[in-house]
């Protein structure tokens, strides 16, 4: 019989494989649930109140892009200066390919301008009857610190809970909400452990896959599997340690390219990575959900400059990064306003790459920028 250590290691490997499977096929769990006759909600926006979706008996799956997807039709409709990642997500909704199941409901928040544009596009396509689409709900959560915003968000959260109740034909009960909050809190706790451990245990690509699995699996199951997986990995991979900021990465493509070139992504501030960390929700009430999604969960566009700078400094310190990259995808320029403050706070060479394609990265540009800075520092 295997030793307890060997057995634990085997379990950890199995758990890691399960995470990878949930990342590689983001609809794996959705299909399982659909086979049981249970609905799937596709959502866009890191500040989506996922526990309400879970409480309504549905599986929340965050919609992600896919490198090979044909986006021509989506580009026709969503043709403004919009992040290509969002255009890719629209393509998945308009023309599901291969394994893409059609979600029973799409939920979009106002976490950034491109999400808002995506919502407007879907709303108008439905109105003029140009496309057949699943129903779409928009949850307009805002993030200024004032009481006016909190009151507004409370109204949005109440409305969303009522919409979900009407959609499935039965109101969300207190017990369902309590269970969903506990499940998602468990997932948050496991996620925090992943953030603390990743730099010494995983490649950035693998860490990102493990995070992304959490947005396509049932929350409780994710908490269990991630916790098991984290008992395994222990050795730090090789590579020049890099902290990645700026645009979100909903696939591991860019990290894989970076790490194939000798970098090691030890931390990141976008919400598909470490930046997606959330504190626990205190009580299972709509009021506590409102506090959480108004003040504790801030999309990048709502972060005050000093907090962005402090997050970069802390992220670099705790991950042991020796370089910082502010990665801006094409049309996702807002991060450029915060780059100087971030670079100054980080205390290590920091490069800005703008106009990056989806999903890709200008490796020679990164090398050149960081080398110049290193040279300046050692002069």
């Amino acid at each position: 019989m295997a030793s307890p250590e060997a057995q634990q290691a085997a379990e950890a490997r199995q758990a890691a494989a399960a995470l990878r499977a949930a990342h590689d096929d983001r609809w794996l769990h959705a299909r399982r649930r659909a086979a049981q006759g249970r609905p799937v909600v596709g959502y866009v926006g890191f500040d989506t109140p996922v526990e309400l979706i879970t409480a309504a008996g549905a599986l929340p799956v965050r919609l992600a892009g896919h490198a090979g997807r044909d986006t021509a039709l989506a580009r026709t409709y969503l043709d403004g200066a919009v992040d290509p990642q969002v255009v890719n997500v629209l393509a998945a909704i308009l023309t599901p390919q291969g394994h893409d199941p059609v979600p029973d409901l799409v939920v979009i928040t106002h976490d950034c301008d491109s999400s808002l544009q995506l919502f407007y596009t879907l709303r108008e396509l439905r109105r003029i009857g140009a496309q057949t689409l699943p129903p779409v709900h928009f949850v307009d959560l805002l993030h200024l610190p004032g009481e006016a915003t909190r009151q507004y968000n409370l109204g949005r959260i109440r409305r969303f809970a009522a919409q979900l109740g009407a959609w499935r034909g039965r109101a969300v009960s207190e017990a369902e909400l309590a269970e969903a909050v506990a499940d998602h809190n468990a997932a948050r706790t496991a996620r925090t452990r992943l953030r603390r451990r990743r730099a010494g245990a995983l490649t950035g690509g693998e860490a990102l896959r493990w995070y992304a699995a959490g947005t396509s699996m049932p929350a409780r199951e994710y908490a269990t599997v991630l916790t098991a997986a984290l008992t395994g990995a222990t050795t730090r991979p090789a590579g020049r340690p890099l902290f990645v900021c700026g645009s979100g990465h909903d696939t591991a493509d860019v990290y894989d390219v970076l790490e194939g070139d000798g970098w090691l992504v030890v931390g990141d501030d976008h919400d598909w990575g470490d930046g997606g960390e959330q504190p626990l929700i205190g009580e299972p009430t709509l009021s506590a959900l409102t506090d959480h999604y108004t003040r504790a969960v801030l999309p990048a566009s709502a972060l005050p400059l000093p907090r962005i700078a402090a997050a970069a400094r802390d992220g670099v310190d705790s991950s042991g990064a020796r370089y910082v990259l502010t990665y801006c995808r094409q049309y996702d320029d807002a991060h450029r306003w915060s780059h100087p403050a971030r670079a100054a706070a980080a205390g290590v060479p920091a490069a800005l790459l703008r106009d990056q394609p989806y999903p890709g990265v200008d490796l020679p540009g990164l090398d050149a920028r960081l080398r110049t800075q290193e040279a300046q520092r050692t002069r």
């Binding site: 805002l142 009481e147 400059l305 000093p306 915060s338």
Partner: protein, 423 residues
């Protein structure tokens, strides 16, 4: 035809000349007051400026001041200050220019003597960049920044232009109005503390009444231009005569200016004045203005009898501002909390363009699609569905680098030639 033809230059509107003169005098007075220690606010165009007027805090509109900087060709130099700090000089420049000026070394050649450093800046959090950009006023210059939310509705009734004046509660929906109304109530004590000024609800009531009156004059002017047998005045001459009084909304001067524009246009119509004697094609321009080639708009008059008859500025001034209500602060919130949606967000934007195109009896629409245009496919689609021909022009930016004027002229000329004859 590869060379844009020379354009006829008609007499400028007296209302436009008067507005330009007033603007200079007003700004000189404002500079003088600020130098003597009066507070000054710099606000985005979507911020409820009437609140500041009701506090007697002078304000400058960020986008208007940007247009002055651009017109004086100082943008390049000021944007350098952003570049030096590693900040973007090509993102939302139109909102960033006043910040860039404030970060630049003071020179003797500043436009109109330069904008004094404001005591407070106020902006809505539209898009992803606005809030970060305005935070720099605080972090780099120590100027307090007061942000306002930019909320979005899940559902809206389409016919906003019919509802907005009286039934804005239905058009916009109470939650968004509640939000801005509450924010304005929170803003008042902050502004009082920062500027030492006092808010007066009575003054705001008067200001709302005056600005509604101004909007009604603009409406009459727009309706008159829509229904006049031939277009009596080049559309680009209307723009300053409408826009400058808009920056002074809520003052007796602005209301009188809107009235005198109406009177002037009415007398031109009565005289039978026409930009083109033999008017054969009425056109509408949608999209950003071609600032580098204003003459473009007039270059089809002689050759094609074609005249641009519609300006977004007058149409917005006519439809987008008037709000009637008993509570002046809430009414003011209703004026601004969905402001951008009226022109940018479908279904509101697209259906409004169709309605305006019909009212102006246009024969076709030239639709300029810049890199940051929103929902342009829907706009073109709705117009064509309504039986209105559209030609699309793709331009990556408004500075002319990406457009070859001769090619553009050819494209539009060929398209005008292809328009069906009037039935």
């Amino acid at each position: 035809m590869s060379n844009p033809t020379a354009t006829p230059t008609g007499p400028r509107l007296a209302a436009a000349a008067a507005a330009l003169r007033h603007q200079r005098e007003w700004f000189a007075t404002l500079r003088g007051r600020t130098e003597r220690g009066h507070p000054l606010a710099l606000v985005n165009a979507d911020v409820p400026q009437e609140l500041l007027r009701a506090m007697d805090v002078p304000y400058v509109v960020n986008q208007w001041w940007s247009s002055i900087i651009s017109a004086k060709r100082m943008s390049g130099r000021y944007l350098e200050a952003l570049r030096e700090r590693g900040l973007p000089d090509d993102v939302e420049q139109y909102s960033a220019l006043p910040l860039a000026e404030a970060l630049s070394p003071r020179g003797d050649d500043a436009p109109w003597g330069g904008l004094p450093l404001p005591s407070v800046v106020i902006a809505d959090c539209t898009g992803d960049s606005m809030r970060r950009m305005f935070q720099l006023w605080e972090s780099e210059l120590g100027v307090p920044f007061l942000p306002l939310e930019s909320a979005a509705a899940e559902t809206v009734p389409v016919n906003w232009w019919e509802l907005m004046r009286h039934d804005w509660e239905t058009a916009i929906g109470s939650p968004r109005i509640d939000l801005l109304h509450r924010e304005l109530r929170e803003l008042v004590p902050r502004l009082e503390q920062l500027t030492g000024a006092r808010f007066s609800p009575q003054r705001l009531t008067r200001i709302m009444a005056l600005s509604n009156e101004q909007a009604e004059w603009n409406r009459r002017t727009r309706d008159l231009l829509a229904s006049a047998p031939r277009c009596p005045v080049p559309v680009n001459d209307i723009i300053p005569a409408v826009m400058i009084p808009q920056w002074h909304r809520g003052t007796p001067w602005a209301t009188a200016a809107a009235q005198s524009l109406y009177d002037e246009v009415a007398s031109l119509v009565a005289e039978g004045r026409a930009v083109v004697r033999d008017e054969r094609r009425r056109l509408m321009w949608i999209g950003r203005g071609l600032w580098f080639d204003m003459d473009f708009y007039r270059s089809f008059e002689q050759s094609h009898g074609a005249v641009f008859v519609w300006s977004m500025y007058l149409a917005l001034a006519a439809d987008a501002y008037a709000r009637y209500g008993d509570d002046p602060l809430r009414t003011l919130a209703a004026r601004f909390c969905a402001f951008r949606d009226q022109m940018y967000t479908p279904p509101w934007s697209v259906e409004w363009y169709v309605k305006e195109a019909r009212a102006h009896r246009v024969d076709g629409v030239v639709h300029l699609i810049s890199a940051d245009s929103r929902s342009s496919w829907f706009t073109t689609h709705a117009l064509r569905e309504a039986g209105i021909p559209v030609t699309e022009i793709r331009a990556d930016n408004a500075d002319g680098r990406s457009l070859d004027p001769a090619a553009l002229h050819d494209q539009v000329a060929r398209w005008i030639g292809s328009l069906p004859d009037r039935g």
